[in-house]
Amino acid sequence: MWASVVVTATKLVVVAGSILTGVAIMEWVERRGAAFIQDRLGPNRVGPLGLFQPIVDAIKLLFKEDVTPTNVNKGLYYLAPMISVFVAMVTFIVIPFGAGNDVTIFGAPLGGLIVAPDLGVGILYLLALSALGVYGIVLAGWSSNNKYSLLGGLRSSAQLISYELSMTLAVLGVLLATGSLRLDDVVSHQAAHVWNFIPQFVGFIVFTTAVFAETNRLPFDLAEAETELVAGYHVEYSSMKFAAFLMSEYMNMITASALIVTLFFGGWSFPGMGRFSGWPLLIASVVAFVAKLAFFLWLFVWVRWSLPRFRYDQLMRLGWKGLLPLATLNLVWVGVAMAMRWL
């Protein structure tokens, strides 16, 4: 009993710590990557290659004056960043990030490298909670009592609702092929057969595009749109409350990339896995997972600094007339392929 509590608590601490460290690293990658793409140097003064820049930034944000504008709706204004960070923090627990079913620690089975191995609804939990992320943005926009914020919040809620549909339909294809809601089953199914992005390439494209919209990243960052809305829903936020929104965006990015890897690129599995077992397999699988994760995180940065922002009507047209039919088509294809026993 106690050993399993300790194991779960350790997993939680490791995951939360890794995500927060990942946020700091991603901040550095984003700034250096932007500089690289735009042919400049980027922050390179603090530490080797500017690696300590995130620490300095965090200290700066902590010590900035925390301004609460006069006419905001106080309760909701404080609640909004909390919701954003909370939702971003709790979604990762159903994602398996390494093998380890045959490993025991102090006599307690590790139960795979996943914080909540026994949650039967698996990905539904993740989708349900990440659907709540929109409240953070909408409430921030509304409670700030500012036209720009409100417009950002409204745009964002419309965008999130529209793209959630295509995203869920794309996930449905994967779940249909697996026959289970649990993400570790999705991974082991891909390890036994073929990675999902080959039979469901359309689903992969739809899911990745929708996830870019769900995380409010360029080319879909209509909620922020600096050139039109100043900064959108978080105009009135400063200091750590602003940092909370920034952090939740990067945490969502990490979870989204992990989800792309898990659903379409075999999760922690890698070719030639059969030759390992026990601890070496565990370490190798974590390395494989992190490597794939890093690629998709870089893709987020790459796309952000390469593509211009969509116009609002283009965004809606792409979501409803482009992605939704494609996602449905993918679902039909998976169904037909399964009925014909091709998958």
């Binding site: 709706n73 909701l76 949650l119 039967g120 609804v121 539904l124 939990y125 989708l127 349900a128 909670l129 659907a131 709540l132 929109v134 409240y135 909408v138 409430l139 926009g141 509304w142 409100l150 919040g153 409204l154 809620s157 419309a158 999130l160 609702i161 959630e164 809601l181």
Partner: protein, 162 residues
């Protein structure tokens, strides 16, 4: 342990439902309705119906109430434009409906344990799926037709405005 959790869920659920009805600000109404739905989802989870709990949050809290909030914020009626007094009969009809729902709920719930660790019908997605496409296939398809009718109706209403 489960009974204590259930008690907390019930109290929070009822308080937030009352706030959802009685608070003057529409945004607060919607938000406390979110809390109420969360409590409903939590009681599903306590009954062992994980799938229903997740679906409840995904559909109601994640999609439908976001639309409510969207509408409330778009209208954003100033304080003086909101109706001060409830319409005549509003209170009486509300009480009657609440009484009916309460009596029906009690009649159904008598003899059912509120916290059932081992539910008679398994609450996982597979079992619910089998029920939906098995014995309840007619009701299931019927509901989809009703939803389709609502969808077409909404489109017709929007088209007429233009």
């Amino acid at each position: 342990m489960a009974a204590a959790v259930f008690l907390v869920v019930v109290v929070v659920g009822i308080v937030s439902a009352v706030v959802a009805m009685s608070h003057r600000s529409p945004v607060v109404n919607v938000l406390s309705l979110v809390v109420t739905l969360f409590c409903v989802a939590a009681s599903y989870a306590l009954l062992g119906a994980e799938f229903l709990a997740a679906a409840q949050i995904l559909i109601y809290a994640g999609a439908i109430l976001v639309l409510f909030l969207f509408v409330v914020m778009l209208l954003n009626a100033p304080e003086e434009q909101r109706p001060k007094e409830p319409r005549p009969f509003q209170r009486a009809v509300g009480l009657l409906l609440a009484l009916l729902a309460g009596v029906g709920g009690v009649a159904v719930l008598i003899g059912i344990e509120v916290v059932a660790p081992a539910a008679r019908v398994s609450g996982d997605a597979r079992a619910i799926g089998r029920l939906l496409v098995g014995p309840y296939i007619f009701a299931f398809e019927f509901i989809s037709v009703v939803l389709l009718a609502a969808l077409v109706g909404a489109l017709v209403l929007v088209k007429r405005k233009h």
